[in-house]
Point group: C2
Chain length 408, copies 2
């Protein structure tokens, strides 16, 4: 007997037929004798409709009222799933966020879970019932409903698994696991049996969007074993866990890419102490997220070029901020390019293997692909290249690192 948290997203509970299907999957686990808490999202489309209502009502709506409106979505699903479970003979009851209670900060619209009281759910397990918990929502110290922000149900599930000391947190999605890279680009991409939290964090934030980054970080913090599974097919998924549990052969686990990046270069910045802080302070102040930063010493030694990347949608604002601060920063002129993509090779194995970066550079060079910017961490190497080369580069790297599946 294990204690399991199972999370189903909006597509998996999109209509009554699908909710019934979810109930059937839960029954199977229940009949095996497991203690089960199910976390569900709103039915697909519901949250967007409710958000549209709020926007129609006012472009500057009170986030507390927004949370009240939007939290209705998960409330509907928990009741319906509990009914469908009872219908097939599985004792179940629904819990809204405040009924659990899932206590959050009062930052409405993007609250953080602060504490989960487990007593009511423990009681539910004791009565041999399945607990159906509304994801995405909680209650603030002010006694008002809160929501965790987009994708928050993953976070709810992992936080609940941590609070309940669950043996595993199963996240059911519309993909059947985590792949070595995007299968739409590389048909030979392989589904991974396992991946470490660190690798998953890099994969998730880099575009292999299967799990919400926050939920992976939370899982890592509390050591929650997370399994990514298909909600439609009954096939094994991918386990996200600590390094001790994950036994991958390859040095590199996956190749990720992120489009929607833009590159800004400040040419001939006068070099002096504290300069970098002066460049990035105004960007931080306007809430623009800077990712890669590279500085090249220029010929004369007295000035340098500084290149950094920002999300494409922030490029215009970033350029405005930079130009407004031209006097104080002292640079010659700006160059920018939003036709770039960030390519990353990820794997905890590279810590103990030399030559991983070299293979990346060689592979790209072989294909005649120019590298604009390089940045590395302990478990990943990222480069910025021209967007047109994305597919070519991803495929070449996938093969080079031995990730291709055996042809059937």
């Amino acid at each position: 007997m294990a204690r399991l948290v199972k999370k189903f997203g909006g597509t998996s509970v999109g209509d009554i037929g699908r909710i019934r299907n979810v109930a059937g999957r839960i029954k199977k686990a229940y009949d095996e004798g497991h203690e089960i808490a199910v976390v569900v999202s709103a039915m697909a489309g519901t949250t967007n409709k409710l958000i549209d209502f709020c926007r129609d009502a006012s472009s500057l709506h009170d986030a507390r009222e927004y949370d009240t409106v939007v939290a209705a979505g998960e409330q509907i699903t928990v009741g319906l799933l509990a009914i469908c479970l009872q219908e097939i003979g599985v004792p179940a009851r629904s819990f809204l966020g405040w009924q659990v209670a899932i206590k959050t900060s009062s930052i409405h619209g993007s609250a953080r879970i602060e504490e989960i009281e487990g007593a009511a759910l423990e009681q539910c397990f004791k009565e041999n019932r399945v607990a159906v918990v509304a994801g995405f929502q909680g209650i603030g110290a002010d006694g008002r409903l809160t929501t965790l922000g987009r994708g928050g149900s993953d976070t709810s599930a992992v936080a609940l698994a941590a609070a309940l000391k669950a043996d595993r947190c199963d996240i059911y999605t519309d993909v059947d696991g985590v792949y070595t890279t995007d299968p739409r680009i590389v048909p030979l991409a392989r589904k991974l049996d396992g991946i470490t939290y660190e690798e998953m964090l890099e994969m998730a934030s880099l575009g292999a969007k299967v799990l919400q980054t926050r939920s992976v970080a939370l899982a890592m913090k509390y050591g929650v074993r997370v399994c990514v599974l298909s909600s439609f097919e009954d096939v094994p998924g991918t386990l996200v866990a600590g390094e001790d549990e994950i036994m991958e052969q390859e040095v590199v686990t996956g190749i990720a890419y992120t489009s929607g990046e833009a590159k800004v270069t400040m040419v001939s910045v006068k070099d002096r102490p504290g300069k970098v802080a002066q460049i990035f302070a105004p960007l931080a102040a306007t809430n623009i997220n800077v990712d890669m930063i590279v500085q090249n010493i220029s010929g004369d030694g007295a000035s340098t070029d500084v290149t950094f990347t920002v999300p494409e949608e922030d490029l215009k604002r970033a350029v405005q901020v930079m130009e407004a601060n031209k006097e104080s920063i002292r640079y010659d002129h700006l160059l920018f390019d939003d036709n770039v993509v960030k390519l990353s090779v990820i794997g905890v194995g590279m810590r103990s293997h030399a030559g991983v970066a070299q293979l990346m550079f060689d592979t790209l060079a072989d294909k005649g692909i120019n590298i604009d910017v390089i940045s590395t961490s302990e478990i990943k190497i990222s480069v910025l290249i021209q967007a047109d080369y994305t597919e070519l580069a991803v495929r070449a790297l996938h093969t080079a690192y031995g990730l291709d599946a055996d042809k059937a």
Copy 2:
């Protein structure tokens, strides 16, 4: 400055445009300096959709889960109305039933309000804010959401008005008041300026469905002055209040009719003590509501005919029950007729006026309409007639009692 509770039904908040319209009406009252609690229903169609979901999920759904699902409807509306009020400069906040708290019995699906804690709303008034309260819902002693059953928002509003000692409870509907009879049948029907609780109770339960019966009974019990108003036009409505406040000229206030009645006659029931109890006990046990009851002594003095009415939809069950108990009740045979209508003449004035019933009988006789059953109370006379004569009878009585409006 007055303290007002204002209730808007599903049609009045059917879309964002209409919710904005409601916000505008509230702003007017707020700007006049009143303390306001608004009670709202779910957006038109929402409750039915949620009920359908529950039925689709299971024909025998858990009422606690049903309540959780259905209560989401009002939750959406309160948040949206609060947003629309803030948008036009009216400080407002939403309250779910459990946040008020509106404490109810735990009879899920048709809970009764047991207690309303007023402190949170008093605080809201103190902060000069409009309180937007979810109608139809509350919280049971088990900490789970409850709903009050169909039309429950009227009851929520009146109960809130009683708890807050409000000066008036305004119920906004899609009609602009209470009429002397159904204007679809009698074009000369007049809108009443005022009507007593007792009369309104008779009108409401007899088919002039403007206010939910439960809410009128509650208003009477706590002396809450209720005003029925149009949510679309800005015209005076009808005040429902105690007899001391209502000054109507006529002896009769209105003519009501109820179709959907069925008549059952048990022929030749052996007369003996306790017989009536024996007849109606099995009907009560199967939850069939018996309305009018008449007993005629037959010629021989040893047996009688007993006639009673039940809701049309219960006729089949009533007949089954009666036939199953034929042995113990001892009667000859059953007659039944579902083509009947109950016609009522209502008015507190008839207490002090003679000849009111006689005028009814004379008027119907003049038109050649046969009376099947008669039943009277202090403030109403009801007769059962064949349904085909409904319009003819209502029009004749409306004229006979001097209720016709002056022709323009």
